[in-house]
């Protein structure tokens, strides 16, 4: 039973509103310094990817390691359509989302049909990225593609980064609301039941296959949609966009943040991105890979000591804030 009353809508929309308002001030705070705006843009995109992963990985508990398969497919499709046929990304991004969703369905249907889960699910999705990576070397060739310079809302691409940043912020707000909506909906409760105990979920009459597949398709279509934004923010694309290590990194953010915790995953994405940028900027020349070394250590510590991740911190915090806000609101 889904109960969406006014208070639920309030708690679904309010966090994204706060994020948008707080996020919108950042370009002003940094004085439109393009380096910081680009950093903010990349953080917002990483948070969006991690929150999309949260639906399949966090709520449904399926360790998906294929996020960059969907990002690459949707993003490269939208970008190629724009470059080759001058088709606006407004259409291309939706097409990308559709193609990624179709791929997820083609891969997910047999996987869930044959009851593949746990390590075998993770491996199949990792294998998917490798296959697409090698296939794209053959199709795209071993080159980096640069996007020719075009400008304007028709291309969602600008001389400076602010507009793209605001656009991505709106997309992030939508993804946050979608996450919060799912977590309060029938789908969300089904997915969490599947994550906790698949056999028990099946026994109480949940169509496990159907809902896992639904979560996978939602996740893939969001990533297919974001793909274009990711590529524009990176300025280039190639077969390396289908990146296995990046896909694992997304899962790491989801786990370190806490499975199924929107605030935890959101903060983890931001913190890890900022730490990564800081370490890369100051020590990258001397010690490449230092930030990944730290993340690896963090992952071990979180896995052993606090499997609930950052969420144990952020959940208390948000609960406190929520109580205060609700008191003020009522």
């Amino acid at each position: 039973m889904t109960q969406v009353n006014s208070r639920n809508i309030f708690s679904i929309v309010l966090p994204s509103l706060i994020v948008v308002l707080a996020g919108a001030t950042i370009p002003f705070l940094v004085g439109f310094n393009q380096y910081y705006v680009l950093l903010a843009l990349q953080s917002v995109i990483m948070a969006s990817i991690a929150l999309a992963w949260n639906i399949i990985g966090g709520y449904a508990g399926q360790l998906d390691l294929a996020s960059f398969a969907y990002i690459g497919l949707g993003g490269i499709l939208a970008t190629m359509l724009m470059i080759e046929h001058n088709i606006t990304p407004w259409l291309g991004m939706f097409l990308g989302a559709g193609v990624s969703a179709a791929l997820a369905f083609i891969i997910g249907f047999p996987l869930f049909r044959f009851g593949i889960k746990g390590v075998w699910y993770a491996l199949s999705t990792a294998a998917l990225v490798v296959i697409l990576h090698e296939a794209s070397i053959m199709i795209l060739g071993p080159f980096d593609y640069y996007i020719p310079f075009v400008e304007g809302w028709y291309y969602i691409r600008f001389r400076t980064w602010e507009n793209l940043y605001y656009f991505s912020l709106a997309v992030l707000a939508f993804i946050i609301s979608l996450n919060l909506y799912i977590s309060r909906s029938k789908l969300g409760y089904y997915l969490k039941a599947i994550r906790e105990d698949e056999v028990a979920a099946e026994a109480v009459g949940i169509n496990v296959r159907k809902y896992k597949l639904l979560a996978l398709v939602i996740y893939a279509s969001i990533l297919g949609f974001i793909g274009y934004l990711y590529i524009v923010s990176q300025r280039t694309f190639s077969y390396n966009t289908f990146s296995g290590p990046q896909s694992v990194y997304v899962a790491i953010i989801g786990i370190v943040g806490g499975l199924g915790s929107v605030s935890g995953v959101f903060s983890a994405a931001l913190i890890l991105k900022i730490v990564e940028e800081y370490l890369r900027g100051y020590l990258g020349g001397v010690l490449p890979g230092l930030h990944l070394l730290l993340f690896g250590t963090l992952l071990i510590v979180v896995g052993i000591l606090r499997p609930e991740g950052l969420s144990s911190l952020t959940d208390t915090l948000t609960r406190k804030i929520k109580v205060k806000v609700l008191r003020w609101y009522t």
Binding site: I116, V119, A127, G289, L293, I300, G303, I304, P307
Partner: protein, 290 residues
């Protein structure tokens, strides 16, 4: 255009040699997964670590990498015990996702440690005694590959003997079969786990020194070895050594043939395509018991 039979035969032979080395790598992972239920995503990265160690030792001693196994195997056995105690034991019996997360963390640490210390350049040892070819008319045999294949086969069969014919092996198999009953029968399950995990890591130390007789060390070989090893286990099923050997050789030959006949790019992807198809239609593996 049909390639000459000599080329085909050569390629199949190379694939078989590579397959035996894969079976040695997969054996450790399969033991750890089969007995302890631990999903180790860092297995390949231990081979990467081992190959750097072998590279350093072999170059400073000016000796053959395969001899370095005298040092790497005991060292890796001890390291395996330490990692088991510190990192693996706390996540025993936890859900797969947590185990994967922790071992991915270990892999990340090893990989980036290597990246920081050695940079992303492939390294090969300077001195090897085995790096020459025997010309046998139709095919020429790379002696380093032949020796590492034979040694791998020997060790895999040796571990099989250990598992099936000794008391320790009986204890390991009993633990794999039913942990609680085994512990009621007086088997120290904790010790068995410690032994199995250390053995698994020690085997990667050996595999690394064999790999370095003809291969190269670079920070990223771990990820490709790791994924490929899981593919082999999925194909072989957890039945036993024969399934493991067969699926390793199949993967090796597929890789080698596609490399010769199609392209190196395709040869990297084909094992995974086979893996996904097998997983769909025979989830218990090609040789696993239903």
């Amino acid at each position: 255009m049909l390639p000459s039979p000599g080329l085909l035969f050569q390629s199949v032979l190379d694939g078989i040699f590579l397959g035996f080395l894969y079976s040695l790598i997969a054996l450790g992972l399969s033991l750890v997964f089969g007995v302890m239920g631990i999903i180790n995503f860092a297995h390949g990265d231990f081979i990467m670590l081992g190959s750097y160690l072998v590279w350093i030792l072999a170059n400073s001693l000016r000796s053959d990498p395969s001899l370095m196994s005298i040092a790497t195997v005991p060292l890796f056995f001890v390291m395996g015990a330490a990692i088991y105690t510190a990192i693996i034991r706390p996540v025993l019996g936890k859900e797969p996702l947590i185990q994967i997360a922790v071992t991915v963390g270990v892999g990340y640490v090893l990989q980036n440690l290597a990246l920081m210390m050695f940079r992303a350049e492939p390294r090969a040892v300077q001195t090897t005694y085995l790096n020459f070819y025997l010309n046998l008319g139709l095919v020429s045999v790379h002696v380093a590959k032949l020796i590492s294949a034979l040694l791998s086969l020997f060790i895999v069969l040796g571990v099989h003997y250990l598992l099936t014919k000794t008391w320790v092996g009986l204890a390991i198999r009993a633990t794999a079969y039913d942990r609680e009953v085994a512990s009621l029968m007086g088997i120290n399950v904790g010790k068995v786990f410690l032994l199995v995990f250390s053995l698994g890591i020690a085997l990667t130390g050996l595999a690394a020194s064999l790999w370095m007789t003809f291969g190269q060390a670079d920070p990223y070989i771990g990820s490709s070895f790791g994924l490929l090893t899981w593919v082999i286990i999925a194909l072989g099923g957890l039945g036993g050594v024969s399934g493991l050997l067969a699926s390793s050789v199949i993967v090796g030959v597929i890789q080698s043939l596609t490399m010769t006949l199609v392209s190196p790019t395709v040869s990297l992807a084909i094992p995974y395509v086979v893996f996904i198809i097998v997983l769909w239609f025979r989830p218990q593996g090609l040789f696993g018991k239903g």
